[in-house]
Symmetry: C2
């Protein structure tokens, strides 16, 4: 595990196509309502690396690629991502995301709610421009999965045989479903066979799982400076994530097991101590190993494709997802 | 203005097709998440008369009708309607709708938010099954309009030259846009020409306007028993609607003009008095006249279609919308 910030090297042709997606997103966020436009731009401008759009484009490139065929699906996935984040932040009443103030905190809850709806609708309009109606089905199902997973019951106490299962179900819905949809939709746009679409979907799903596991690890190992919020945020909110689950897997009597029963009363010192304990018990290292293994499984799904620049970039995305910020 | 409750007579063939829509809605609301299923069923089971689905089916029947071609658009419009109501109630923090407890009051805000998102996504999946991708564009644009209109700035004080304009813009987005989309999508499914689609859209929009005007009139003339909430609700919430606008149109010095400046402090007696004054100044009668005139304009848009049973039913829907509950 290196502590350098790994950069994803994006070739200029892909960068050009991603810029077209970016332009399209900004164009589609413009509304006759000044408030929608402002809140929408605020939201999508903090959109990060556009990994999901990249996955659409690269999965298409495993097949028969034309930017005009894949542009709308790539735009749609980022709009869905933005819409789902703004509603997610509303449910969680989060004030900040990536260090930037959230829409409901900057404007109000009504604005956050309606901007989310607006962006979902724009995304639906975009999908309809994709060359294959299966793109709409794929994204519609991903949004159904994301919404339902947000209401997934809170996990029972640790350690349970089902804690791990519940964790994977939760992050599968919360994060992996949209990566899965991105890769599958991209392959559909690239004219893939059912087998190829399935392979791309499995790649996307696993990279999405790894992405969320790494996010959950970062919540333990980051500093406030790199994370944009204090470490141990999940513990403070009573959210059980993989490092904690794996830390107590073989230590059923450890105080960590019942720590989150009273998560609202945790002091900063207790959170710091818990983070140290999770590290000492190997929770972080084991979670990293899991993320690596899931990433390998995802990459293996791409074995059916011959070597290509796109396949190599999909591999680099997997490396990037694993190594970012460590 | 009669005070009998006018019934819409629905022929058995249409009733049969509406039942197919109903079955499809209930089927699509079922989710692996028990909570989504329960909240979704709660929501769509209070769905009223399915006027929007009816409009899809009947507009299709102006052209080349096959239930299998129109079923998905009819299902989608009711799902969109349900999704938009649950988010609307969340923004307004309304506890009841049609006398039934709202989703966020029965469960919580997170459930209301996610069930709305879920239903929007199901609707997108349904639209993708329609025989023409324009159906998706039409509904996507209607949801964009609905969301943006919810954020429309609150109206300036009365009387202003723009009060009427703002009112129509608001109810155009809030209510008419989805009726417009229903009729237009139905005509698309029926294989209509651009001119026919435009005519259906204009019919739907105007019936939608009339529908909302009548709703706003009912808020003045109904009893708690028929309305499911106390009369004068809009006044209590500071919402300026057509009866009030028209009541003070020629009475710029009347106390009603500034009544809503301090709407939060209105006593029950003051609301009752205001309702009486709006009636005395002819606000109700003029609003009814406006609704009738708009309905006539909408029906005139159907002149390009030859006489048919479907056209006759669309006329009866217009009558029903005007006369319900008066």
């Amino acid at each position: 595990m290196t502590h350098t910030l790994k950069q994803l090297e994006i070739p200029s042709t892909l960068r050009h196509d991603l810029q077209a997606v970016e332009d399209r997103i900004m164009h589609r966020v413009e509304s006759q309502s000044a408030l929608i436009t402002a809140a929408g731009q605020h939201l999508v401008s903090s959109g990060g690396k556009r990994l999901r759009a990249m996955m659409v484009l690269l999965a298409s490139q495993l097949g028969r690629y034309r930017l005009s065929d894949s542009l709308h699906a790539a735009t749609a996935v980022e709009l869905i991502h933005a819409a789902s984040l703004v509603h997610d932040d509303l449910v969680d009443d989060a004030d900040r995301r990536r260090g930037k103030v959230t829409v409901h905190a900057k404007w109000d809850q009504g604005v956050a709610l309606m901007v989310g709806d607006y962006l979902f609708a724009v995304a639906a309009g975009e999908m309809a421009l994709a060359p294959d109606p299966r793109v709409i089905q794929i994204f519609a199902e991903s949004v159904m999965t994301i919404s339902a997973s947000e209401l997934h019951p809170v996990m029972a106490t640790l350690p349970t045989a089902t804690a791990l299962e519940q964790y994977y179900a939760k992050i599968g819905g919360k994060t992996a479903a949209l990566f899965e949809a991105a890769a599958a939709a991209g392959m559909v746009c690239g004219g893939g066979s059912p087998e190829e679409i399935e392979a791309a979907a499995r790649y996307g799903y696993d990279i999405g799982l790894a992405f969320q596991i790494v996010d959950d690890i970062l919540d333990f190992v980051s500093t406030e400076e790199t994370l944009g919020k204090p470490a141990g945020n999940d513990l403070r909110e009573g959210t059980i994530t993989l490092p904690l689950i794996l830390a107590v897997k073989d230590h059923h009597e450890h105080p960590l097991v019942n720590l989150l029963d009273r998560y609202e009363q945790l002091s900063d010192a207790q959170v710091e101590q818990a983070i140290s304990q999770v590290k000492q018990l190997g929770g972080i290292d084991q979670a990293i190993a899991e993320a690596r293994s899931i990433t390998q499984r995802g990459l293996a799904a791409l074995d059916i494709f011959p070597p290509s620049a796109a396949k190599e970039l999909l591999r680099e995305i997997a490396d990037y997802v694993l190594d970012r910020h460590f």
